[in-house]
């Protein structure tokens, strides 16, 4: 490729970096500025004083938003829901995936096919009965109500099963000869060997639950059970254009996910193509 088109490609790529990333920097920077400054001047890359140009940072917006809604509590709620739902998903989905991949039992293929077919059904078809069932199980307006109805996923079972099928069966046969039980094989052989797919499934389940809005919206009514997206959504519908609050709340919501993403990026990018191109 000649030099000019190479330069052109780099320019485009860098321009898109600005488009994709700079709004987040504006947001974080704005959340640290004085509200008066924020409303009289537009976006700025760094939280500087408009007159002197020096850095001037305040945490007042965060204090104010935490006085309006219990953001600390919401943070812990989100963390609890996302972590517990992820652990449940990893354990039970892998358990089932292993059986579908390796154990022969009657109607196996039929059950699996039937479950896969259910993936076509949009969430909104089951949303209303799900509220009703969760209510009847005594989990309405509770954190467990956010966890249990999403504690497993047929789609994840499918992904993990595909991976387990690819594991050489000799490893399990060796373990059987050593006197390992079925569950022993699952726990000591299959789970360690499935780490790559479990990392992908785990991170996506965490992300889904951390960011989920619709389900908390229909299930949760009391403030001390809010998750971060739900609280932020309520803030948006109620206090309209108080951007100094919205941006502080959005920053609190976004930062943990971005940190996790930067640590686990490899798995996230792999996971995106997993279901799509191979599926």
């Amino acid at each position: 490729m000649d030099r000019i088109s190479r330069i052109f490609i780099y320019l485009c790529l860098c321009a898109f970096v600005l488009v994709m990333v700079v709004p987040f920097i504006w947001m974080a920077s704005a959340s640290l500025r004085q509200p008066e400054d924020l409303y009289s001047h537009g976006v700025r890359l760094l939280p500087t004083d408009p007159e002197t140009g020096r850095l001037s940072v305040t945490l007042n917006n965060y204090r104010e938003v935490m006085a309006q809604l219990p953001f600390g509590r919401m943070f812990l709620n989100s963390l609890f829901v996302a972590i517990v739902a992820t652990l449940f998903n990893l354990f039970f989905n892998t358990l089932a995936a292993y059986a579908f991949a390796r154990i022969n039992f009657p109607f196996k293929e039929k059950i699996f096919g039937f479950m896969l077919a259910s993936l076509m059904i949009p969430f909104y078809v089951i949303m209303i009965p799900l509220v009703y069932i969760t209510k009847n199980l005594g989990m309405y307006d509770s954190l467990w109500g956010l966890i249990i109805p999403v504690c497993m996923s047929v789609y994840n079972v499918f992904l993990i099963r595909q991976f387990i099928i690819g594991i050489p069966i000799e490893l399990e046969e060796a373990a059987t000869l050593d006197g390992c039980s079925r569950f022993g094989i699952f726990w000591h052989v299959i789970i360690p060997l499935s780490k790559p797919v479990l990392a992908v499934v785990g991170i996506f389940t965490f992300m889904f639950n951390w960011n989920n809005f619709t389900w908390p919206l229909v299930l949760i009514t009391s403030q001390d059970k809010f998750t971060l997206p739900l609280g932020l959504g309520m803030l948006m519908t109620q206090s309209g254009s108080k951007y100094h609050l919205l941006l502080a709340g959005a920053t609190i919501t976004i930062i943990p996910m971005v940190i996790i993403f930067l640590i686990m990026q490899k798995y996230i990018i792999k996971g995106m193509t997993m279901g799509a191109v191979k599926g």
Binding site: V19, P122, P129, T237, A250
Partner: protein
């Protein structure tokens, strides 16, 4: 005794083990997937409100939605708004994703860094994104209008004008979703054998001809996959519109999409039966879209 002798048979033990392993999933599936699907279907033929005992009303919910313009003035308009949203969101989104993937596929250094950057909007909460963009769209202090003022171009009250609200929300979603399509296209591009391009170059094809005659046709399965999944996804757009319009689909119902209507029927007016009927109409629409994909699109993704 009989059970004990059964237990000694290897085949029976294997089957039992299998069922024990899938038991949690089976229970979960029955309670949180299968029963809700059936309940939803049954209640779509009732006047259920979640508090009252449901009465069977046969097809009245469906008939009201589809034909009664007095009682359901927004059913058809909300479908139209949703289709408009799809038209605004999907083609631009696909084109942008493809463009980014092509840029990244030209053997440049720092590919991972760029990927990382384009991905950040993708992994963040759509509510936080909506909060951020609400500020950018603000008529007075927002970045977009301030830039337009600098360039001496017409400014808009983006989220509050009938003509601009839906495109503004679609633009936000395009921005957020570009990274996903990019990564799928990139996987497709990496699967195209280099020899094809070499052969084309020997035949004297220029870059544009190579793109048009090799890249695009070979990307067809990936493109259709993305097309169908993003149409289905956009059909169910809800979160960002709910928080940006306080659940109203304002201004003047110009952003009143299908799911917002469903949500309001269920949780504002407590017409659960009617909302269930709406959800099944949605399901049929999605089935048709999926059927079209299976019918007309090559299935091999390798």
């Amino acid at each position: 005794m009989k059970f004990a002798s059964l237990l000694r048979q290897k085949k029976f033990r294997e089957g039992l083990a299998g069922y024990l392993f899938v038991l949690p999933l089976l229970l979960y599936f029955a309670i949180f997937v299968l029963i809700p699907i059936l309940i939803s279907f049954y209640y779509s033929f009732t006047d259920w409100t979640m508090r009252s005992t449901p009465h069977f009303v046969s097809f009245r919910n469906y008939a009201e939605l589809l034909f009664n313009k007095q009682k359901q003035p927004y059913f058809w308009p909300s479908l139209l708004v949703t289709v408009k949203y799809i038209i605004l969101r999907v083609p631009v989104g696909l084109a942008l994703s493809l463009f980014l993937a092509l840029l990244l596929n030209s053997r440049i250094r720092g590919e991972n860094f760029f990927k990382l950057c384009y991905f950040i909007p993708m992994i963040t909460s759509v509510i936080a994104i909506a909060a951020l963009w609400k500020w950018l769209y603000d008529p007075v202090t927002g970045f977009i209008n301030q830039s337009l003022a600098l360039a001496q171009m017409t400014q808009h009250n983006w989220l509050n004008e009938v003509g601009t609200a839906l495109p503004a929300i679609a633009a936000m979603s395009v921005w957020q979703g570009a990274g996903y399509g990019m990564i799928i296209f990139l996987a497709g591009l990496k699967g195209i054998p280099e020899e094809l391009y070499e052969a084309a170059r020997i035949d004297g094809a220029n870059a544009w001809q190579q793109f048009w005659n090799i890249t695009l046709p070979l990307l067809r399965p990936v493109t259709f996959f993305l097309l169908v999944t993003s149409i289905i996804g956009s059909f169910q757009v809800f979160d960002q519109i709910y928080v940006l319009t306080s659940g109203l689909g304002s201004p003047e119902h110009s952003t009143f999409v299908y799911i917002l209507n469903l949500f309001n029927q269920a949780f504002r007016y407590y017409r659960m039966g009617l909302a269930c009927a709406m959800s099944y109409i949605l399901f049929v629409i999605i089935l048709v879209i999926t059927w079209i994909q299976f019918k007309f699109v090559p299935q091999s993704y390798d």
